[in-house]
Symmetry: C2
């Protein structure tokens, strides 16, 4: 049998300045590249497994998970295949089909899918709508308490710490207090926060946190973190009756390969960069300021932004597209000429982007490029 | 926060002759190492995603999945995180908690876990016990038909194509006929076969197949293949009501990172090696013959073996261990001196091993080493 050429090349995306917010937090530092080489083969972390991935001591997965739990201040940490698989596991362990959960209106689609795959009903807390799309803690309280008053039994509350559309940072501490006051366990989706900004699960009163290695922890995907408070451990990490050391929701083991090695190798780098989060915000705000100097470019979501993922409405660029011989493709093409990628081809009405991890000089170059493109084509 | 040194080094296992059957089929060819480098960052395969991993055309995941389906002769293929996650997805889509499935007595523990996590009851077809541990098709029929006669509704049949304890190859074609005659869909676990030996799902009358990239398809873990016959596609790949392009059992997307790039890059190599399966069997039988020349070493499972994973009972080595100053560790240590690894430390009563992918010369060196160790220490 013949197979095709699958085009397994990513040099454009690797070598240029990539503004795709999905990619900025997953770039590997060199230590992780070494680990990837070292652990590239198959089941590479399983050489010395005695039956439990989380207890392997060579490489020191067990120590790593303890350090990770400390890092996000929660009792127990496990690796999962990603944030979505972590959410699915928590919902699966806690709920039965037909149960109801409450979810913020900026939730990632995978929160909805994890619930739907588990047969759960979702009550949604709406955001404040255009242009800020805020998840207001008092609104969360109102929707939650009204539902309880109506006799709904709510099994789990889910909150998106930072959403992937507007980069809004929710007030997890206040919402954590509200859900705790109502005796509802809270799952915080930190896919866009854990590994970028400091997470203190206990301070925020959350029972479960999920994070994403490939999205925000400088790891090769797919891998994520599930953090669990002690009081829920027996439920979430219930063991198999037949294979008594194996955890059911983990199907025994999860990250049996290279991604966990990269997550571990990147961890010192991630600890460092989380300490510099304020500088990242400063850089992003500077970038937003520069971009908003272009006519017809406005950041939406909370202002000033509290995250590197920012969404711009860009009627200015869209107007250019109407009359440009390359139509909507002009922006992508002009950026690419300047070694900037990551804005979707053909998109000019709005775009999401991130300058996370770029230097001040790179950011100035990027914002200047947008300005030049606007001026040249107007 | 400080973190520890996690010992992210695997040079001993990489550079020596590794007999661990878990590792032999997952060694990356050089093309896959290049792909791993190219796609090392985070969500690397998602640059050009329009919402569905299986439809991404750059890299050509969609073409790859079509080629893969053709390779194992089934209608539809998806990547999953591994064989276990594929089994869980099929059971989850097909069954409700409390339902009953039938499983062969040589099933991997993850088959039991996937069932238990889904709240399913298992009816087990016993193997023929020591020393062959055969799963007899007529026994499968008997247990299945007796259960049906007793009024049990069986939702799914699971068969382990090659088991991980004895390396026995089951007669999937005959068992596929039996389950089809009884109108029970059959899931074939090919974790130890797909990527090593030819798989023809339709010829074997199976409805679902799962394979393991890290175990048998020269891929960096975690990744697996789920193959589905057309008539089950609507059920297994049911879409979300809210996010209509997203497949529920996949939680939207599965292998969003480097492992899928390595699986794709290794595919031509895997197609080639499957064509040389008969040579691998010859080499393994030669190895078994040489090892059985050592006093107190006997292969168990079906003889002559039909797979590279072989299990030996080794009372000869165990006797040496009783009187050796290093006790049970002598075997591991003597092998390691000879650059052979992968037999568990301290284990001398029996061991599993594989010489898959080694040259005839390497195999002769390995068997000679075992002989020398036996003679020197007796």
């Amino acid at each position: 049998m013949e197979c095709q050429d699958y085009g397994l090349n990513r040099s454009v995306e690797r070598r240029n300045l990539n503004l795709n917010p999905l990619q900025r937090g997953g770039v590997l530092p060199k230590e992780a590249r070494v680990a990837l080489y070292e652990f590239s083969d198959g089941y590479s972390v399983c050489d010395y497994c005695a039956g439990r991935l989380d207890e392997i001591s060579k490489p020191a997965i067990s120590s790593f998970l303890e350090d990770m739990a400390r890092f996000i201040n929660i009792d127990i940490a496990r690796t999962v295949h990603g944030a979505r698989e972590g959410k699915f596991a928590v919902m699966h362990a806690l709920c039965n089909p037909g149960d109801t959960i409450i979810v913020d209106g900026n939730a990632h689609y995978t929160t909805h899918l994890a619930a739907e795959r588990n047969g759960l009903e979702i009550i949604e807390v709406p955001n404040s709508s255009h242009p800020e799309y805020i998840i207001n803690p008092e609104k969360y309280r109102e929707v939650l308490e009204n539902s309880i008053d109506e006799g709904k039994e709510i099994k789990l509350a889910v909150l998106t710490h930072v959403d992937g559309n507007y980069g809004n940072l929710t007030d997890a501490t206040r919402i954590g207090k509200i859900t705790a006051d109502n005796n509802i366990p809270l799952l915080l989706n930190c896919a866009y926060s854990m590994g970028r900004l400091p997470i203190d699960a206990k301070k925020m009163n959350v029972d479960f946190v999920v994070g994403s290695g490939h999205k925000s922890m400088a790891a090769s995907g797919p891998i994520g973190i599930l953090g669990i408070r002690e009081e829920w451990a027996a439920k979430i990490l219930e063991r198999s009756k037949r294979h008594q050391v194996k955890e059911l929701e983990m199907l025994g083991c999860t990250s049996r390969g290279a991604p966990i090695a990269t997550l571990m190798a990147s961890f010192p780098h991630v600890i460092d960069r989380v300490n510099s989060w304020k500088d990242e915000i400063k850089k992003t705000r500077h970038f937003v300021k520069r971009l908003e100097e272009i006519e017809g470019v406005t950041q939406i979501g909370v202002k000033p932004t509290e995250h590197d993922l920012v969404r711009f409405e860009t009627p200015g660029f869209d107007e250019i597209a109407q009359n440009h011989p390359r139509k909507g493709f002009f922006l992508y093409e002009e950026l690419k000429k300047r070694n900037i990628v990551g804005i979707k081809r053909g998109q000019t009405k709005w775009f999401k982007c991130s300058v996370y991890g770029f230097t001040k000089e790179q950011i100035d170059y990027i914002s200047l490029s947008f300005k030049e493109i606007a001026e040249k084509n107007r």
